[in-house]
Symmetry: C2
Subunit: 219 residues, 2 copies
DNA sequence: GTCTATAGCGGGATAGAC
DNA sequence: GTCTATCCCGCTATAGAC
């Protein structure tokens, strides 16, 4: 649907930016209009209300996201490589939709909120299950240490990317920048996260049964 | 300052819960009153306005937090052990202040928002710097792989704890629970995060010297 | 399609009785 | 200290001119 109204797009872009920065409740219609350089009332010409504008913002990107997931994660991929691609895929959203990671993260954080979108829940659940399966597959072929709980491990992976983007303003300050983190640093962090994760997943290098006195989780 | 008015406390508790769940903007004075089982107007007897109630909510906990940091992180601690304590300390906030991790996380995510509290920035910056220093110290004595960027690594560590709590409702669903994650699972996840992190930090196994003996819980 | 004006409502905050 | 009533403002959303 090439619904190419300029103002419609301007509104979507502005809303995307503001919702990502401030969240849904803190963002006013007037602010969206101002950010878009457009009369605020036009919002109601193109969208039924604020909430459905929010949904439109999310849905506009979900297609691309799902498509990318499908093409970049063909079925037969080795688990470790698939995991790496998922991490990089999350960061890659930044190009072309820089606000999206933060917005998605917010969506998960405000999961209970009235404006939350069911599609996102399902998408998150699907991705989560997929990562869990990849980890189990990796454990089966001894490429991932088998004392890791797949579900918890999946959370560890996602966290590293998600938090980096939600906490963007704080993170950027901590890294010594004003405003947003420059793209080169995003890439460097992504490389780091991949390396960090792969190191954590790697099985202990000695005999498999030699020492598992590692850690007090008695099961 | 044993300012022990019951209603004041009720208001603080209610506000803490709601701000953590919904964020500042989405939380109304009336909702706080209802949650506290108290007349909403009383808010203005005990606090100047909504924003300063929010600050009071944060400040009430910061003392405990800082004190715990100081006592549980004496200066001479080995880097890896100090790092473990930081991770566990974050999770331990849950007891006695279950909403706090999520609230702090929100504070960092909404850093730009008008209501953000400077103290929190400094606290976060201090903690960040401290973790970075610990990592550098660990690298110097060859207990942490030296190809890791200390700043990025610090983010990886914090992320795992922070995101688990911000995304609480989503995470809980993904783990198969309704509502909140049960405390036992929080503990198990914390154990996981510690193990995951230590595995990622461990230097490549070429040097035998790196095999230091750690006892996460000496039983 | 875009704009102005405004309705209508809900939010934060205050006055003052008790 | 607590409660009722209410003010005022800003926000969402609509009506209707152009």
């Amino acid at each position: 649907m090439p619904d190419e109204s300029q103002t419609r797009l301007a509104l979507l872009d502005a809303a995307e930016a503001l919702f990502a920065r401030q969240g849904f409740a803190a963002t006013t219609i007037k602010a969206i209009g101002a950010e878009a350089g457009v009369n605020p009332a036009l919002l109601y010409y193109y969208f039924p209300d604020k909430e459905r504008l929010y949904h439109a913002v999310l849905e506009r990107r979900l297609g691309t996201f799902a498509r990318r997931m499908a093409t970049e994660l063909p079925a037969g991929l080795p688990p470790l490589e698939a995991i790496e691609r998922i991490l990089r895929g999350y960061a890659a959203m930044m190009h072309g939709a820089p606000q999206m990671p933060r917005l998605l993260a917010r969506e998960l954080a405000d999961h209970e909120a009235a404006h939350a979108l069911p599609v996102i829940r399902e998408l998150a659940a699907g991705l989560f299950r997929r990562i869990c399966d990849l980890i189990r597959a990796g454990q089966r072929i001894r490429q991932i240490r088998d004392d890791l709980d797949p579900r918890f491990t999946a959370i560890s992976l996602v966290s590293q990317m998600a938090w980096f983007f939600v906490a963007q303003p704080a993170v950027s300050r901590l890294l010594g920048y004003e405003g947003t983190v420059p793209p080169t640093q995003v890439e460097r962090y992504t490389d780091h996260a991949v390396a960090f994760t792969l190191a954590a997943l790697a099985p202990a290098r000695s005999r498999p049964a030699a020492r598992h006195t590692r850690h007090p989780t008695r099961s």
